[in-house]
Subunit: 150 residues, 2 copies
């Protein structure tokens, strides 16, 4: 388990300046079975456990039409992740690599993205499978999945 | 062409409160061939035109290892998009739908995501295909693509 401020051999942190180039609003909250990073899967699976996404007002009105999709792209804020590592070791890999070569939550803008299976829509709550984030993770966006053009 | 503050029949805007739940830092800039929203493709194509992503310091150090991927996920800030529409009409569709049922740039947190083909890495600049955003779009993140588990 990694302590919050641990730096492993080969890892590199940069000084963080308190820059705000843009601001985010949390539009909902995600319930998952995982209360620590060690429990979270490395990547969500479409056949993984049920998770729930609850929208805050006034964004519930933006759900109209969503039940027509069986897959959705979900964006969320990795609120417990440090943002200063430019080189880091992946889980159980002693070789440090650049942050952009990893899907680690620790990144300058800690935004997670997953493709989920939409199981149910009940008012302001979506039931989905395929997430990988901590219980209580703030929601940033929901989009239909992109078409496969490649 | 849509004027900046135009509301079409069936569309719905909500009052925006000046909430900042989290802050983003722009880590680079994206060069594309498109200087107006009307020119942008609806969705990037892996065989689309060459675009360039240039990283700012100190984030260039986080690129180490990235050239091993032929596809990358890119996140960017849709800096010209309004954020207050909860219902909107897609391009050339008179029926308004919930914002989360569309991949429109106009959303509470206007973050774009694309899967791109990595053509070249030259110092702090990546040459890619597959983007759909305006020239000058701020970069938020680069990740390896997720594995296909579904």
């Amino acid at each position: 388990m990694r302590a919050d401020n641990e730096i492993r051999p080969g890892e590199l942190a940069v000084p963080l300046v308190e820059t705000t180039d843009a601001s985010l609003v949390f539009i909902g909250r995600i319930q998952t079975p995982w209360s620590s990073r060690e429990e979270c899967p490395r990547q969500g699976r479409i056949d993984g456990p049920i998770c729930r996404i609850t929208l805050f007002e006034p964004w519930t009105q933006a759900l109209d039409g969503i039940s027509g999709y069986d897959r959705l792209e979900v964006l969320y804020w990795l609120h417990r992740a440090r943002r200063d590592l430019v080189r880091q070791c992946a889980h159980s890999d002693p070789l440090a690599r650049g942050t952009f070569a990893l899907r680690s939550p620790m990144r300058p803008n800690p935004i997670g993205t997953s493709i989920v299976a939409l199981e149910d829509v009940d008012g302001t709550t979506l039931t989905v499978r395929g997430l990988d984030c901590l219980d209580g993770t703030p929601l940033l966006d929901i989009k239909p999945p992109r078409h496969r053009l490649c």
